[in-house]
Symmetry: C2
Amino acid sequence: MNKVTIDDIAKVAGVSKSTVSRVLHGKVAVHPDKKNAVLTATRRLGFKPNIVAQSLASGRSMTIGVLTQNMGSPFYDAIAQGVIAGLASSNYSPIFADGQWQIPKELSALQSLVGRRVDGLVLIGGGISSQQIDDTCDGLPIVIVARTFAESHYRCISMDNIAGGYAATRHLLDRGHRKIAIVRGLPTHADAIERYQGYVRALEELGMVPDPRLVVESDFSPESGITAVNELVKRGERFSAIFAANDLTAFGARLALDQHRLRVPDDVSLIGFDDQLESAYITPPLTTYRQPAREMGQYAADAILKLLQGEEFSSLQVHGELVIRHSVRDLSTASV
Amino acid sequence: MNKVTIDDIAKVAGVSKSTVSRVLHGKVAVHPDKKNAVLTATRRLGFKPNIVAQSLASGRSMTIGVLTQNMGSPFYDAIAQGVIAGLASSNYSPIFADGQWQIPKELSALQSLVGRRVDGLVLIGGGISSQQIDDTCDGLPIVIVARTFAESHYRCISMDNIAGGYAATRHLLDRGHRKIAIVRGLPTHADAIERYQGYVRALEELGMVPDPRLVVESDFSPESGITAVNELVKRGERFSAIFAANDLTAFGARLALDQHRLRVPDDVSLIGFDDQLESAYITPPLTTYRQPAREMGQYAADAILKLLQGEEFSSLQVHGELVIRHSVRDLSTASV
DNA sequence: CCTTACCTTGAAACCGGTTTCAAGATATCG
DNA sequence: CGATATCTTGAAACCGGTTTCAAGGTAAGG
């Protein structure tokens, strides 16, 4: 273990530990001779500061707590990676906790993070109330990614899911689709609800009314995409396109369609949401609404860093975009 | 912020801080009355111990450093999730660092972890030498996942990649394939090398010699799977099956085959490696050699926890298995 | 050349716990 | 009932840094 302390250096360099600390920090002027002596000793002894001691003394732990909705979901993982990347150039290290889609776990994970005296928090998704957040971490700088609070004073990095749902649906509409099924996602999840709202809005804009028989719920997993399509087929519904809650669901839906001998996009068009890595490589490459997850994570890192430096930072809405690949058929030209 | 300290409790409970510490730890007997007084005060004041101070005083940080080869690779991410899950029931929290496939970054990330005075380390994959590891973290308990060292004294959780490569190739062979192309993976990466060795062994066992024209390199990305197939096709090679370095590469290969109007598995069979989530949902569902990544992560967590308690733990080899789905065609019956 | 302002520097307090040590209290035992 | 062993307990040292404070030294101004 590295047992060299600041006192050892002080002794070797012939100065006080205060001076060593000052040299290492570089903020206060120190006589060049002593400075050199300290630096030399530091190098010779291979001194590495004890971050724990530093934290206790300075009150800052140089650690950012990152609480994620779920590790293992491509979207949230991508955000987490963005946070890591954004923090990499700073002196702060991220420390992770996982909410596992469950509010109680999420809360206790948050408490553990706060108990570790993190200097700041990045919350990725999640479902705990702003009340609970406030109670648990009063005063701590917080940035929230991929979630918004209507009332709150938090800084959020979010994407407009209503706009996303609208754009995806609109794309289908523009290509002549009228019977558009939607696999909604978790009925309690804000993102899913908003995307659905976008879907409804796009339909209504054309004077259509959403057909309840064409909406199915899911839990964002591929498995639930399969179930959804099976359900739709079993019910005997007719549809020319499916809007899936996210790409993972779309993968499942795509497989189920295949099993029903429904070709994509010839028989049924398919559109996803997220644009995860694999989406560009399935057959056919999936048209989807891209969320800039990694960037969102980086923005969050930048934001928390700013907050930590006392600079201000206000909520930010990032823009998604439709990524058009080959899973949607253009019915309008086909019918010409 | 939580400003309640152990001194506040001592004052309220009318005892010394030593006694408070003892009560909170529970190891030493304390008079029931005082114990109750302390517990009551703790609850009433909402005391949460300052983990940083605890760490400094006790010399243990209750933190496990996790260094991953790369965040964003499904396989390594799955291991990381396993580690998180395995640590969840303990009092230790994981703190992450990312090597980003680059040895210098890996080394500096490791140093930063050690500087934080983690109590133990879990290394996921990676390429730094055992020499470098020893120099950086002498004495610290270490568990290494998804990598083995021939010489070393480390505890490793690994899978036999040679056996995996052999099993995958053998599966193809058993189904009558003889022209088996392989997309090898990173030429410097141990896993890739070993899988290739397994491939060679399977071939040689049947008296065949590996055809260098059928081996292409990749970097484990889907993009490189596309490139590999394009390369193979451009060269005009004939092959009835492809063994891809990992599933991601297989995805790319599958798409490229489609673009060349080569059907899977009718024209070309495809087998992957890893069995990541999405593999079961592409079309056709991918036959692949499954690495129990998440379990490996959990084993690693268990191992480091044991080591921390002074118990012993020796290296462990987990077993992979072939997951047969629908991307491999049986040529032997077809020809009957 | 003397006074005042500013620098540089070391001693000491401090961060919030854990742990050692010794004293006082209690229990055990002959 | 006295002596010794065992428990319980508080004071103080300690972990390894940061930060305050005041002293001594130097530079600038009159």
